[in-house]
Subunit: 205 residues, 2 copies
């Protein structure tokens, strides 16, 4: 292999195909019903061949889960990095919501696999995945705390509850959002921000 080969050996390509296939099967069938035969069929290979690239089924699925969380985390970090220094804390939350929703709704099955199998992972896999998840959660924890501390958001509500309700509203969108429809992830983000920041109540005139 030449030095400049964009790092895509034949092995790397097969590995990537197996990961993509595993993400799809995990998202549509759930952890316990994801089989190596189904993954292999989708990746155009055989179940036995997967063991050349991954030590076990769990190691393969853990890599899928980490990739899903990392995808969302990096998208949010990138969006926040593009803001001016010392940004408006509400604007930062809006940017994070849009980045998370775009990642979840249009970055393929990795994020869906994460969300759908969240509550169904066996303890050893959940434990292995927890650190990556907690890191991402901390990003949101800081965003909300910063906005409250700056006086932009109310300080009379439990911040953990706020964060988890917000993530719930976003994550559940994988179950109803239609990529073919006229509503884009960006528009959905705009309505969610508007709702959660300003509220649904009609202003008294």
């Amino acid at each position: 292999m030449s030095v400049r080969n964009s790092g895509k050996s034949k092995s790397d390509q097969t590995r990537a195909r197996i990961l993509d296939a595993a993400a799809h099967v995990l998202a549509t069938r759930g952890y316990a019903a994801t089989t190596l035969n189904l993954i292999a069929e989708r990746a155009n290979t055989k179940a036995g061949s997967i063991y050349y690239h991954f030590a076990s089924k769990d190691e393969l699925l853990l890599e899928v889960l980490e990739a899903g969380t990392q995808t969302a985390h990096e998208a949010v970090s990138r969006a926040l990095g593009k803001l001016e220094p010392d940004p408006d804390p509400i604007g930062a939350i809006q940017a994070a919501i849009e980045a998370h929703l775009v990642a979840v709704l249009s970055q393929g099955p990795y994020t869906t696999a994460n969300i759908r199998s969240y509550g169904q992972l066996p303890e050893h896999l959940a434990a292995a995945h927890r650190e990556v998840q907690r890191n991402y959660g901390t990003t949101w924890r800081k965003l909300i705390a910063a906005a409250v501390d700056a006086g932009a958001l109310r300080n009379d509500l439990d911040q953990r509850t706020t964060r988890l309700l917000l993530l719930g509203a976003m994550n559940w969108s994988i179950e109803w959002f239609d990529n073919e429809s006229t509503l884009t992830p960006t528009q959905l983000a705009a309505q969610l921000c508007d709702t959660v920041i300003n509220g649904l109540r009609r202003p008294t005139d």
Copy 2:
């Protein structure tokens, strides 16, 4: 069996035990990994015996799913029925949110099975379950439309999106709500209502 025996024959009791066990397994393992052996073990019977009470695995699981949706639907209808005639439309939404959250968080595994397997059902089961689900969705559609029409809620937001974001925030709570903690479902409902109606933004003084 005497006429007055509270309708609980031995057969009915076994049937109920099997349904409870199936709801638990479906919630923790997902549709495709739910096996009759696991259900039978939990219900203190044998896999073969399940076929005396249910025609097939799918028929059993469909009954679990319908029961879950009906539980939430009836809880919300009951809560709305207790309100005065011609109720405040925002108060009606608050009552529905509390009833839905209490049902989802403390009525056992039936609602959890619904939420967790929502996106992983094979098409024939999803289709069979769709009418019950749509009926429940209509309850929420009407609640939101009534509040907008009465001028209590803003009319510049897409109502379908509002409804689905709200249901998402509620449904995802099964993944993080801790029944042992000091936060009760009622308190969670109060914060969700406050957030979604009034918004998180700090009022300008």
